[in-house]
């Protein structure tokens, strides 16, 4: 028997507690001189930004960037990972370089991208694409190379050609891991987009919005940006999981 009290989904418990603590701290801090924007101020700033239309412009700019960068990087990662994961010679030739490249943290590439492409769209896109590329390539390669010998043997016993075997056995067998790569890829692309926008400030975007808020000492604007980043990042992860569930229906 469950008592009829206030029903709160488990996942909301922690955020509500944090928000409450924030609110208390904001009001207490006001007297102590600490600059914590209370929730109502953040909400009204959010409303103003939304009504003014700049929020939509920033959100749209970031999402468009992430999407195009992710598609570029993921397609390249799928192709590269397929070659590495299928051909031993290609693996031997290219894997050491790839493994070295992916050890460099994204922030390490930002100056490189800035010098090569400036602070415009090209630099941002290439950083986002690179961020998506690495996990997709790695997981595609590992997924393909790790397909069990018994499945490969089945393909041989059914007289499959190399192409048929790749398309009908290797690729589907690697799909779960490829999706792991795609999920990491979209998350990294999102992070890369924000980092690139923060450090290569030019044009609209959530990173620029935060950067602008910081310059004005407006924690409320910064917090609106942070919340939007969290919300849209989460939405993208969920969307990717939906796609994955569609592709991997056979798993249960």
């Amino acid at each position: 028997m469950q008592s009829k009290g206030i029903y709160l989904p488990r996942g909301l418990l922690l955020p509500v507690a944090i928000l409450l603590a924030w609110e208390v701290a904001a009001h207490a801090g006001r007297s102590g001189g600490v600059l914590i924007a209370p929730l109502e101020q953040i909400a009204s700033t959010a409303f103003t930004l939304a009504a003014g239309g700049t929020m939509a412009v920033d959100v749209a700019a970031t999402i468009a960037r992430v999407m195009s960068g992710f598609v570029l990087g993921a397609v390249a990662g799928l192709l590269f990972g397929s070659v590495i994961g299928t051909s031993r010679a290609a693996d031997w030739l290219a894997s050491p370089t790839f493994n070295a490249v992916r050890q460099v943290p994204l922030t390490g590439w930002i100056p490189v991208a800035a010098l090569l492409f400036g602070i415009g769209e090209g630099a941002k896109l290439s950083l986002i694409a690179l961020a998506a590329f690495c996990p997709v390539a790695l997981n595609t390669a590992e997924g393909l190379a790790g397909v069990s010998q018994s499945y490969r043997e089945l393909g041989r016993s059914l007289n499959f050609s190399g192409v048929t075997s790749w398309w009908r056995i290797l690729l589907p067998a690697a799909t779960p891991q490829i999706f792991t790569g795609l999920k990491h890829g979209i998350a990294f692309a999102w992070i890369a987009a924000i980092a690139a926008e923060l450090l290569l400030t030019s044009g609209p975007g959530l990173g620029s919005m935060i950067e602008g808020g910081t310059a004005l000492f407006r924690l409320d604007i910064v917090m609106v940006g942070v919340c939007l980043i969290g919300a849209f990042g989460y939405a993208m992860a969920v969307a990717m999981e939906r796609v994955e569930a569609r592709f991997l229906r056979w798993r249960n």
């Binding site: 018994s150 041989r156 059914l158 007289n159 048929t164 009908r168 056995i169 589907p172 249960n252």
Partner: protein
């Protein structure tokens, strides 16, 4: 069928074998490289199997039964000697040989009918026709109603039925079964044993089956090949002349089963 003609040697050409001999294993040896050292797994095996014959291979685990079957399947190549199927030398896998592994090896992302239909892809059969044929073979192995089920939704016995259906889908001359019922519970195994007998009576094929279940061997076999280990070789070939369908409790059956069992106990001293 004429046994006389079957046994007559036609030519001494190594590429042409005796008429009526479906499978000829000719002085086959196979060794594997284990940490740089050769491990002799099969040593000088010779065995002729007549078309339509049901041969069961028994022997201790690790004696090379699967290796022998894989050589016939063309999934592996001998270091010496050769295997001939239907008169031609085996150089690789072929659709004239259907194979069932101990694990059902159904592709988990395909439904039961798609799994069976996959056997027809290499022949270039159009998809709709492939699925038609697949459904027929699923019906043959008793899986009507499960055509669109995924392997994860099938029981072990049902999955193995589907695997048998896949092996049959090309109507191969030769059926190779590597402990196909080894992973099943006793009741399911009994059921599928009867099913295999029914299938092989309905559509006769040359069958080579590996098992370590002696009763299963006596139940199926025209001849039982008993293998020795280290290196794997043929110890004895026991003809089984019991009438079919076989009655597991008949005196002949029981006597033969214990004779084969004795052969095994001898082996382990």
């Amino acid at each position: 069928m004429n046994v006389r003609i079957d046994d007559r040697l036609l030519k001494n050409d190594s590429e042409v074998r005796r008429v009526g001999v479906a499978i000829s294993v000719d002085h086959v040896s196979r060794a594997f490289d284990i940490n740089g050292r050769p491990l002799a797994v099969l040593h000088d095996i010779s065995l002729d199997i007549t078309a339509g014959e049901f041969v069961v291979i028994v022997g201790a685990s690790g004696c090379g039964k699967s290796t022998l079957l894989r050589l016939i399947a063309g999934l592996d190549m001998p270091n010496a000697g050769a295997v001939f199927v239907g008169g031609s030398k085996v150089v690789g896998p072929g659709l004239d040989r259907g194979i069932v592994f101990q694990d059902h090896r159904l592709l988990p992302w395909l439904t039961a009918e798609e799994n069976v239909a996959a056997a027809l892809i290499a022949r270039g059969v159009p998809k709709a026709e492939r699925l038609d044929v697949a459904r027929r073979y699923l019906a043959l192995v008793g899986l009507t109603g499960f055509e669109t089920a995924y392997p994860s939704q099938l029981s072990g016995g049902m999955a193995q039925r589907a695997a048998i259906g896949r092996a049959l889908a090309n109507d191969p001359d030769v059926l190779l079964l590597d402990e196909p019922l080894g992973a099943l519970d006793a009741l399911t195994r009994l059921k599928l044993q009867n099913e295999i007998v029914r299938l092989s009576a309905k559509n006769p094929k040359t069958i080579v089956l590996v098992t370590h279940d002696i009763e299963e061997a006596v139940f199926f076999a025209d001849r039982i090949v008993v293998m020795d280990a280290k290196p794997g070789r043929i110890r004895r070939i026991i003809p089984v002349d019991l009438p079919r369908p076989r009655d597991r409790s008949s005196p002949g059956f029981v006597a033969l089963r214990s004779a084969v069992l004795d052969e095994f106990i001898d082996e382990t001293h």
